[in-house]
């Protein structure tokens, strides 16, 4: 095994790249869960975003247009979840699973003609002075714009939930929808908007996978990234800052195991490939064993004004 082949500056840079899709999806899902809705369809929305983003970017040779289309498509898909769970009061767990299955089918249907094509990827930014810094430049300031958008999004979500009135209403709806309803807030409307936001974020995350991270379209390419995003929300105890930490930790694990595989570590490949999932389980266990949860009190409970 040759660990010296791993360059620390490039390692940090690739961790940021591999964390971004999960971070985007997780921050969106956190807002959804803060409003009291459990959307298990992240995986389905992500992969739909991945395929639509890829198709649009390739067709119009514009990655930014691809990202916009991915966000729209995934939000449209999440709208079906919103209608089912908010207006038709279906079971959120079952509907989320259904959304994932629909998304997986839809994406491989749309993606067939695009298999094997090369993506039009985002250019790396060249920020004056910052990008030229010796090691820090490679690590932090030579990424594509979406890496910074995702970080900005985390900051915005944090500020929105903490400092704005709308954020307070959203949290109130998630903690006790009956009280929020009694105060005259539109519970269903707030939740639908949150679900749409979550969908758009998942779509961006998916498009980042197919346009930057891989960059190619292959069937089932999200490979559980959406589920890991769900786990990160639990890991983060529903706090924006911790979502970021969680996503970067998982990005780190993923990159590290790939580097170890490349360096020919004396660990079975199957174990290394499975390590992100095993570590997710491990983290979930530690979090739940600690017993501090902070889940929104109305999470997963359906709301109807009559009850």
């Amino acid at each position: 095994m040759d660990l010296s082949s791993i360059n620390p500056a490039l390692l940090v840079a690739s961790i940021m790249i591999s964390a971004t899709p999960i971070l985007l999806a997780a921050i969106g899902e956190m807002v959804v869960e803060k409003s009291g809705v459990l959307n298990l369809g992240v995986e389905g929305m992500m992969i739909t975003g991945a395929v639509v983003g890829f198709a649009v970017a390739v067709t119009f040779t514009s990655p930014l247009l691809g990202f916009a289309a991915a966000a729209l498509a995934a939000a449209a898909l999440s709208l079906s979840f919103a209608v089912l769970t908010q207006y038709l009061l279906s079971n959120q767990v079952a509907t989320g699973l259904g959304l994932t299955l629909v998304g997986l089918g839809l994406s491989s249907l749309i993606g067939k003609p695009y298999e094997g094509m090369k993506a039009v990827t985002l250019p790396k930014l060249d920020i004056p002075i910052l990008s030229d810094l010796p090691i820090l430049g490679t690590m932090l300031f030579r990424h594509d714009i979406m890496v910074y958008v995702s970080l900005l999004l985390v900051a915005l979500v944090w500020a929105f939930l903490k400092y704005t009135r709308a954020g307070l209403i959203l949290r109130a709806v998630g903690e006790s929808h009956d009280s929020a309803h009694a105060l005259g807030y539109k519970v269903v409307r707030v939740r639908v908007l949150a679900i749409l936001f979550g969908g758009a974020c998942a779509g961006l995350g998916g498009a980042y996978l197919s346009l930057v991270r891989v960059p190619q379209w292959t069937e089932g390419m999200t490979a559980g990234a959406g589920w890991i995003a769900l786990a990160i929300v639990v890991f983060a105890s529903w706090r924006a800052g911790r979502v970021m930490i969680g996503a970067y930790l998982f990005g780190g694990v993923t990159v590290l195991q790939l580097n170890l595989q490349a360096a020919g570590a004396a660990v079975p490949v199957a174990l290394l490939s499975a390590s992100p999932y095993l570590i997710t389980i491990l983290v979930l266990v530690t979090i739940s064993a600690r017993g501090v949860h902070g889940a929104p009190a109305s999470l997963g409970r359906p709301f109807h004004a009559s009850s």
Binding site: S90, V93, G98, A289
Partner: protein, 362 residues
């Protein structure tokens, strides 16, 4: 103005007919979808739902496939439905199915080339235990630490897939297979082959197990105290506690049964229709079974019918690929839509539509 009004009691009639409405809606939307791919909508629906059973030319070949495909779906869905009734969301049946297949196949291959009649029973036992063990991981973590079983069971699917790839290119690889990945072919080893019991019917031991599971689940859920405890834990967890139901035991029972049945399904699949352990022998039955469980209203008899219907869409989907050039993924979407429409129409079990202005309740 249309509004929903809560029913005094859930409607039994609606519960029974929603699957039919969902199927009809899926056919309509599916037909429209297929017409985008240049297929005549009516013809494509006929190819999917009618031809596999009744076409004079090839129904002879496709009809046995119905049981072959429905067997594992029903077996897994029965296990899942028991958990879903108790509010335990095991969505990692695919992983339990894979591990069951690996354990059972591994146990058999250890005795190759023995022709002892004990080989196949041993493999069945190990397959069931493998699935059970894999399902015990989320069960134990949920009971001991309160860890969410949805995420853990699903993560374990990806772990199982990695193990599957590893053993089919390593531990269980056929030493006489010229270095190709995949284990020995069980179809060429009589003692371990899950052959058809009656020729050209598709009836193999996995289908028999599925029928036994349907009857067993029916008796347990309708007549046995454990079935009552499971239903009680799902519908009124507090009441279940007061009645002395141990929630941990219900978790172990539900996940254990699901894992056991999924493991069995995996073993029967790998020794029969699939023939060998290879990286892609699992056809996603563990996920489709979730749809089957819901479509069957979490009721054993319903699951039996839903499993047959879902098997029909698999076979019909393959036919539609061959005859009409429809993409294979269209069927996957078709199956997902079915679940969606079912959940959408489900609302009318507990609510009724009320037209006109809502009255002010006194």
């Amino acid at each position: 103005m249309i509004s929903l009004e809560k029913r005094q009691q859930p409607s039994q009639v609606i519960t029974a007919i929603t699957p039919l409405i969902a199927v009809a809606l899926t056919m309509i939307v599916g037909g429209i979808l297929f017409s985008f791919y240049g297929a005549d909508p009516v013809e494509s629906i006929r190819v999917i739902f009618w031809d596999p059973m009744f076409n004079q030319q090839f129904a002879g070949f496709t009809r046995p496939q119905l049981l072959v495909k429905a067997g594992p779906l029903i077996l897994i869905a029965i296990g899942l439905s028991i958990g879903f009734r108790a509010g335990i969301w095991n969505i990692g049946a695919e992983g339990q199915y894979i591990v069951g297949a690996i354990c059972g196949a591994g146990a058999g291959l250890a005795f190759y080339p023995s022709e002892s009649p004990l080989i196949f029973p041993l493999m069945i036992l190990c397959g069931a235990l493998g699935g059970l063990a894999w399902a015990m991981i989320p069960a134990f973590l949920k009971v001991r630490f309160g860890t969410n079983e949805i995420l853990v069971s699903l993560m374990l699917v990806y772990v199982a897939q990695n193990i599957l790839i590893s053993v089919s290119t390593g531990l269980l690889r056929n030493p006489e297979g010229m270095g190709f990945p995949g284990s020995r072919n069980f179809k060429q080893w009589d003692a371990a082959h899950n052959a058809e019991i009656i020729a050209n019917t598709g009836m193999h031991w996995g289908v028999v197990a599925a029928f036994i599971a349907v009857i067993g689940a029916y008796v347990m859920m309708a007549r046995h105290i454990q079935g009552f405890n499971i239903r009680l834990s799902g519908e009124a967890p507090r009441a279940a506690r007061f009645a002395g139901v141990n929630p941990g035991r219900v978790v172990f029972l539900c996940l254990g049964l699901a894992g056991l049945l999924a493991g069995l399904a995996g073993l029967f699949e790998v020794t029969g229709p699939a023939g060998q352990v290879s990286g892609q022998f699992n056809a996603g039955y563990g996920f489709t079974a979730i749809i089957v469980a819901f479509l069957g209203r979490l009721h054993p008899i319903g699951i039996l019918l839903a499993g047959l219907l879902m098997a029909l869409t698999y076979i019909g989907g393959e036919l539609a690929q061959l005859m009409l050039g429809l993409p294979g993924a269209a069927i996957q979407l078709f199956q997902g839509m079915l679940l969606f429409f079912l959940l959408a129409t489900d609302v009318f079990t507990n609510y009724r539509l009320r037209f006109g202005k809502r009255e002010v309740l006194s």
